[in-house]
Subunit: 321 residues, 2 copies
C-alpha cells in the first residue's frame, strides 16, 4: 500500500493542520469541504497555519545553539534535529512554500475529491449522527483500495465500522493540536481492522513525520488522554478542596517529576473550555454537594472572566506580558 | 522561633536522610534510637547516605558545563546552582565532612535526646498504635517550646494531635526519599495547628535547603502523591487492559508533556513493592473479575521474578547494563 493521494474530510482546526503536514511531507493532499462558505472559513485558517509552521521553522534557528533545542524544536517539521544547520532550515522553509502551493487542493465535489484516494482522514465534528451520515454518503464512492481513518478524539471506531462499508480498512488515527510540534499519531483499530491496514497506517504516520503510538485495542481517550485526564482532574480536586494553590501544585509536580509544566500549566495550554466540557460530562457534576460540581463552577467562573488559558492571554497564569 | 537543636525520632531510611540534611545545613542534630540494636542498624545506614551525599556533590562537578546541569544538580546540597564552580563544590564537600562529624549525634536516652529541642521530627514506622505510644511517652518530656512534626506519608496529623499534648505545636512535615535531590518538604497542619507554628516550620524547611510545599488543609497523600498515584494507576490500567506496552505509554507521556520520564519509568524509581502495597489497599483488588485484581497480579508476577525497579537492577526496564 502506497500513500500518494491523501484526502482530508473537513477544514477545521485539526483538518487543516493534518492537510498541511501531508502537503509538507510531499503528499498530494485534498481537503474536501461541504460548501462555498466552508471554503471561506477554511482559507484564512490554512493561511494562518501555513504561517505558523513557517514561523516555527524560522524560530527553530535560534534553537540550534540552545542546549534545550533538542527538546523544543518542531519535531514534525525537522525530522532529524541533531546536526541541523541554518542552511538546512532555510532549505526546509523554501521547500515548505513550494510543497504547500503544489500539494494542497481544496475541493467541493466529493466524487472528484475521493477519486483514487489512498487514504481518507475524516476530521469532522464529534457528532456520531453526522459521522454516520457522511460515511454512508461516501461508502460507495470510495475506491476499493482506499483506507478510511477517523481523527475522532472521543468516539470509538467500532461504533462506526458497519457504516463504512469497509470495516477491515477502517480505524482511528488521532492527531494532536499544533501537529508540527506535537507529532504523536495514535493508531487504534477495532476488532475487524485488518493487520495489514493497521501496519500500513502506522507506516503512513511515519511518512508524514509523525511518531506512531500503537494501541493494541480500542480505548476511549486513547493513551495520552487516558493518562492526562486523571492527572488534571486530581490537580483540580486539590484546588477545589483548597488544599493548595495552583502555583504550589504545579511547582510540586515540576520539582518531583522534572516535567517542564505542572497540571495547571497544561490546562492553560489545553484550554479551560475543553477541561470544562470534560468535567461537564460527569454525572456527579450535576450534584451541588459534590466536589465535581464545585470544580465545574470554579472553571466556569474563570471562563466567564475570559481566563480561558494561553490562547486567551490568561488562564491560571497571566500570558499577556 | 529559632531552630538550633533538631531531634529525629527513628533511624530508618528517611530518618537518617533527614538528620544528615540537618547536620549538613548546620543544625545541631540528634537521632534518638530505641536500643543498642537500632544503633547497630542505623550506623551503616548513616555511613551509606553520608557517602551518597558526598558522591552526589562530587558528581555535580561534571554538571557544571552540562546544559542539563541546572535540572540535575543536587538541589538540597547546592542552594544556588547558577555560577557554582568546582572550587565551591570542593568547599561544600569539605564543610559537609566537618558538619556531619560535628553536628550529628546518636542518643538512646530519650530525656537527653529531647532536652532543649527546638523541633522534633517523628520518622517512625507507619503504625498508628506505635505512633500514639511514642507521642504519649514523650509528651511530658518535651520542652514547652518544642515543635513536633511527623514525617508520615499516609497518616493525617489530626489523627494523633490529641495524643501529643501540644496540638497547636504539632503538624506534618513530609520529606521525599533521596532528600538531597528531591528536596520538597510538604507542610501540612491540622485544624488546631497555630499559624505561627505553621509559618515557623515552613521557614525551618527552607533553612534546611528544602523547598516548602504549603498545604492549607489536611489531604491524605499530600499534594505529590495525590497527583502521582492516579497517573501511575491510569498507566497500569492501560497496561493491564493490554491497550499498549509500557514503553509506548511512557513514550507518549514524554512526547506529549516534555517530561523526562513516563509513568513506568517513575514506577521503577518508586519501586514495585510500594506500587503493590498501594494497589493492595484497594478493596476491588480482591475481586478476581476486576481490572484492579489483574493489575495487582501483574505487579506481583514481576516482583516474584525480582523485577522490583531501578534499585533491583530491573523493573519495567533493564538497568543492569
Amino acid at each position: 500500500m502506497e500513500f500518494k493521494k491523501v484526502v482530508v474530510l473537513g477544514g477545521g482546526v485539526l483538518g487543516v493542520q493534518i492537510a498541511l503536514m501531508n502537503a509538507y511531507t510531499g503528499h498530494d493532499t485534498t481537503i474536501w469541504l461541504r460548501s462555498e462558505s466552508s471554503i471561506g472559513r477554511a482559507e484564512p485558517r490554512i493561511a494562518h497555519f501555513k504561517e505558523e509552521m513557517l514561523k516555527s521553522l524560522e524560530e527553530s534557528k535560534a534553537l540550534i545553539k540552545n542546549p534545550m533545542g533538542g527538546y523544543l524544536y518542531p519535531r514534525g517539521l525537522v525530522k532529524v534535529w541533531e546536526g541541523t544547520t541554518e542552511e538546512d532550515i532555510n532549505k526546509l522553509i523554501k521547500d515548505a512554500k513550494i510543497n504547500f502551493e503544489k500539494n494542497l487542493h481544496l475541493e467541493l465535489d466529493i466524487n472528484k475529491a475521493l477519486k483514487d484516494a489512498d487514504i481518507v482522514i475524516e476530521s469532522m465534528t464529534e457528532d456520531p449522527a453526522a459521522k454516520i451520515e457522511l460515511y454512508e454518503k461516501i461508502r460507495d464512492i470510495l475506491d476499493d483500495k482506499t483506507i478510511l481513518v477517523t481523527n475522532s478524539s472521543t468516539l470509538l471506531p467500532s461504533q462506526f465500522k458497519d457504516h463504512t462499508g469497509r470495516p477491515e480498512k477502517y480505524m482511528a488515527l488521532h492527531f494532536a493540536n499544533i501537529i508540527w510540534k506535537n507529532n504523536t499519531a495514535e493508531c487504534m483499530g477495532h476488532d475487524k481492522t485488518s493487520k495489514e491496514v493497521y501496519d500500513a497506517v502506522v507506516r503512513y504516520a511515519s511518512e508524514m513525520n509523525m511518531i506512531p503510538i500503537k494501541l493494541h485495542k480500542e480505548q476511549p481517550a486513547y493513551v495520552l488522554n487516558s493518562l492526562l485526564v486523571p492527572l488534571l482532574y486530581s490537580a483540580q480536586t486539590l484546588w477545589a478542596k483548597e488544599v493548595a494553590d495552583p502555583e504550589t501544585i504545579d511547582l510540586t509536580w515540576r520539582l518531583a517529576t522534572g516535567a517542564p509544566a505542572g497540571p495547571f500549566q497544561i490546562i492553560d495550554v489545553v484550554g479551560l473550555d475543553t477541561v470544562y466540557s470534560i468535567q461537564n460530562m460527569k454525572p456527579s457534576s450535576k450534584d451541588p454537594n459534590s466536589i465535581d460540581y464545585k470544580i465545574l463552577n470554579m472553571i466556569k467562573e474563570k471562563i466567564d472572566k475570559g481566563e480561558k488559558g494561553v490562547a486567551a492571554g490568561k488562564g491560571f497564569y497571566d500570558y499577556s506580558k
